[in-house]
Symmetry: C2
DNA sequence: AAACATGTTGACTGAATAGTAAACTATGGG
DNA sequence: CCCATAGTTTACTATTCAGTCAACATGTTT
């Protein structure tokens, strides 16, 4: 069967970039097409609406990140080191993005979820799905830490949600202040939430 | 001098409601006018742009909340009780709003800040200003708690930012999941972040 | 090379958008 | 009572928006 192109992928990447950098509402189909070097007709050849594109772009974006997540949260890594490693990864990523585009962008899922959670059912559902997948990594690390006696967390799911709340809140703070500093406290805060004794060392 | 009206106030209230419930981008000037029972001409008599309205509406909204904040964070209340009281207040407020409009709305400043922090300078600045004012209440409660030996927080400002991050993250979570449950853990998480020993009682 | 499926294009639609401008009206101070 | 001032109204612009459509191009299979 004839002719394959990468326009679909280019459109999803462009959409993700623009939505992350700005917002869903202020990202027009025209702008996405221009950034992707595609025409509007092509857009609607691949996607039936802007909303559907967003859902698929989110999914593709997550799939791209998944391998790294699996690596960072590998059961071969001590559980609390997984968290530390992830936070370091996020800090590096946000710092790099800041250097490249001049702004700290925070978490695209969270920003998008806050923006249109109530308005667009499909996007809201997709955001929830991805955030839940993400939370499961935290949950299993916390459960393992508990099993190994590193922390006491009888309800790993609830604890994970608290750590995720702190994590997302720090990312939102970083975006709003356009400053990566809140992200340097991620490990410290998360461990505190988990009841790990802090060494009075650093700083 | 002639004729006074409450249209300006009605417009700000309508704008705040719509932006909080939906988003800045999806809230049109027409919709604001309709909800406020005003005509577009009146809108532009009082405000020079939608952006300016948002800035002023945010300010008015904060001023309305300030008295309650002063009461809750009164130095006459034991510092950690201030936090507990505030979280309870927020939980009640969000629960009430949920009942009234069918959705958990989270923090308008944070949602708005994430949405247009990078796009609209004036709104971003206003959001930062208000979030900073808010954080100062936390900061002074934490400083007092430290002074009274209830917690050890040599850097109250930094600790306050962490607690705020957890707080905002929980509100974002609640909005995205349309569920107030994350808000029931606010006090627990905040105290954990502050290194307060939890009683193994509840639940 | 013919047939066909896949992908591309540009011109189009109609609705919604933020913002304007000028005529109009009510009111309180002189 | 009258008129300047603050506020209101209506009809308007120009742009941008998401989405449509039919003609066209190109590669693959037969």
């Amino acid at each position: 069967m004839p002719r394959h192109s990468d326009v679909e992928e280019r459109l999803m990447n462009a959409a993700m970039d623009l939505i992350w950098e700005n917002s869903y509402g202020s990202t027009s189909v025209d702008a996405i097409c221009e950034k992707a070097g595609a025409k509007k007709g092509s857009f609607y050849h691949f996607f039936e609406s802007k909303s559907e594109l967003a859902v698929k772009a989110l999914e593709a974006d997550w799939q791209r990140k998944k391998a790294k997540m699996d690596e960072i949260f590998s059961p071969s890594v001590p559980p609390l080191e997984r968290l530390r490693g992830y936070f370091e990864h996020v800090y590096q990523g946000q710092t790099k993005a800041h250097g490249e585009c001049g702004a700290v962008l925070g978490c695209p899922y969270c920003s998008l979820g806050c923006e249109i959670g109530t308005q667009d059912r499909a996007i809201g559902e997709q955001v929830r799905k991805i955030l839940n997948r993400n939370a499961r990594y935290f949950e299993s690390a916390i459960r393992d830490a508990d099993a190994q006696g590193l922390i006491s967390a009888p309800d790993a799911k609830s604890k994970a949600q608290m750590v995720v709340a702190f994590f997302q809140g720090s990312l939102a703070q970083a975006r709003i202040e356009n400053d990566v500093r809140p992200l340097r406290r991620l490990a410290e805060g998360a461990l505190e939430l988990l009841g790990v004794e802090q060494k009075a060392s650093a700083k």
